[in-house]
């Protein structure tokens, strides 16, 4: 697939999702005018209602409002939050770096740890690394990250006093990042191992052994690229999972990220924030998808 085609597909997908989410979010039973009047303590007269409706274009047909919203969104006017009265873009720019760095750091850490773990698991089947990665993948599937985090806080923070609870500096982010990475490490290491094991059944692997390479050398030299390719394909789906774990981690550790803001906005039925959030998530997924795709293309020129 050509990059241009990928770009066109991504943009079409983004438009489709934005239209779908705009329709769904705008057909919410809650009336934004009623919420605004209550939140801002405005007089609930007919004139106020009519003025607000006209100002937000709520008297226009849905498609017209969508086009209007899209042009504003693309030019950087993401509307105002009902709840805080601040521009949504500003609110997001304030919080997005926290969530983004949590997610990116977790994912990067997972890839860094998954490669050696998967490699040694493949080089020594039924060895320590293999058993460890297998146990880990069973473990992370059953134990939710937020609860594991809470238990760790209790053991390390309350019982052993190794970490400070309620730290306000960068150390507060260490445990969440490790927990986000933990789930992905298990998944990615298994993917990496499986692909390496497949390499070991190929005829060229036997040739490499016949040349005199040790099994480990042969796996690394001949299986590395192929396994990395499989790993990147798995990263694409793992990127969606990371959003979910980032959200629970932000709530658990009280980090002022985007998810915490979002949960509060949902309680207030803040439509502009919700819409902007969907767009940010879709953008993140598309960027991760595109990035992984470009790296895969670099690894396997046959895709070009």
């Amino acid at each position: 697939m050509h990059p241009v085609r990928l770009g066109i597909q991504s943009i079409t997908g983004m438009l489709a999702i934005s239209l779908a989410s705009f329709t769904v979010i705008n057909s919410m039973p809650a009336d934004p005018v009623a919420i605004a009047i209550r939140v801002w303590n405005l007089p609930a007269t007919d004139e106020t209602v009519a003025a607000l409706r006209a100002e937000w274009g709520l008297d226009q047909p849905l498609l017209f409002r969508y086009c209007d919203w899209l042009t504003r969104f693309l030019t950087g006017d993401w509307g105002r939050s009902f709840r805080t009265g601040e521009p949504v873009l500003g609110e997001f720019l304030e919080r997005l770096p926290i969530s983004l760095s949590l997610g990116m750091a977790g994912l990067a850490l997972a890839i860094v740890f998954a490669i050696p773990l998967g490699f040694f698991a493949a080089a020594h089947p039924k060895g320590v690394a293999d058993r460890f990665s297998r146990t880990l993948s069973v473990f992370v599937q059953a134990v939710p990250g937020f609860w594991l985090g809470l238990v760790l806080l209790w053991v390390l923070g309350v019982q052993l006093r190794w970490i400070r609870l309620l730290a306000q500096d960068w150390t507060a982010a260490v445990l969440p990042i490790l927990l986000i990475a933990l789930h992905s490490v298990a998944v990615l290491a298994r993917v990496y191992r499986r692909d390496l094991m497949e390499t070991a059944t190929q005829p060229y692997f036997r040739t490499a052994l016949a040349k005199g390479l040790s099994e480990r050398q042969a796996l690394w030299r001949h299986g590395r690229c192929g396994a990395l390719y499989a790993l990147l394909a798995a990263v694409r789906s793992e990127a969606g999972w990371v959003i979910g774990s980032t959200a629970t981690m932000e709530i658990l550790f009280g980090l002022p990220g985007i998810s915490q803001f979002l949960v509060q906005s949902i309680a207030a039925r803040d439509q502009m924030v919700l819409q902007a959030y969907v767009m940010v998530i879709v953008l993140w997924m598309l960027v991760m998808n595109g990035g992984a795709y470009l790296a895969m293309r670099f690894l396997d020129p046959r895709l070009a």
Partner: protein
């Protein structure tokens, strides 16, 4: 055999919570706050004197409803879309598959968040959202399985015998794909439990005052210094339930 026993014990525990608990899960008994594990309160009581075991059982019933709703939504929707795509073929197949692929891209959490914002906070809306998010993968699987079955010689034989398209789907196609689809649904049940617990934990599962495993972990997290067992119990219940479900269904690797 052992796994079926385990699964039935789990099912009995979960279903029992639907109509019987040792105490009323919402009954406040301020004199018996933080009683610890005693004979009358097996898992102790919380900061309002509510019986933790009763709350876990009540939460278990809600979780069961969520699992069933999630499974049913994903199973019905996915089988329908996937089989339709495989049978219809041509551009309609491409269209359905593309839509499913795009839908998979939107993370489960976002779907659930939007559903919570629109339909209000209830286990049903959370389950509906999780189920809808599962339709995409289910449809892709159903499509792959159906394609494989449609390539078999007996389909060709049935076609040359003049079997109607409805008979073809109901008599020849679905009996061959449904068992595998069903196994996949079971495979996803553990995932649904964790997803629902996560939603409840961030406050989007249901009314936070209702007993839900995730919401209980959230509610009891503040007692981490003095009464850590309060948050240990619901988390352990989640872990045991998910492990049992995964173990019972792990024959099938999608």
């Amino acid at each position: 055999m052992v796994r079926y026993c385990l699964l039935s014990v789990l099912a009995v525990f979960l279903v029992l919570g639907g109509f019987w608990q040792p105490y009323d899960p919402d009954a406040v008994d301020i004199l018996a706050r933080h009683s610890g594990m005693t004979a009358s309160h097996l898992l102790g009581t919380d900061h309002l004197g509510r019986d933790v075991l009763s709350r876990i059982m009540a939460g278990g019933w809600r979780t069961t409803c969520v699992i069933l709703a999630v499974g049913l939504t994903g199973f019905v929707g996915g089988t329908f879309l996937g089989t339709a795509a495989a049978v219809l073929g041509t551009w309609r197949e491409t269209l359905i598959l593309r839509c499913c692929e795009f839908f998979i891209m939107v993370p489960t959490l976002v779907v659930a968040l939007t559903a919570a914002a629109i339909f209000g906070l209830s286990p049903l809306s959370a389950a509906l959202a999780l189920g809808l998010a599962g339709v995409g993968p289910h449809a892709l699987l159903a499509h792959t399985l159906s394609k494989r079955v449609l390539g078999q010689p007996f389909i060709l034989a049935a076609q040359s015998l003049g079997v109607s398209s409805f008979g073809m789907i109901s008599r020849h196609l679905l009996p061959n794909t449904l068992p595998l689809m069903f196994a996949y649904v079971g495979n996803q049940a553990g995932l649904a439990v964790v997803a629902y617990a996560s939603l409840a934990f961030i406050g989007l599962g249901a009314d936070p005052s209702e007993p839900d495993w995730g919401a209980m972990v959230f509610e009891y997290r503040v007692f981490i210094f003095d009464h850590p067992m309060l948050m240990i119990w619901p988390g352990t219940t989640i872990a045991i339930t998910v492990s049992a479900l995964n173990w019972a269904f792990d024959d099938f690797q999608a």
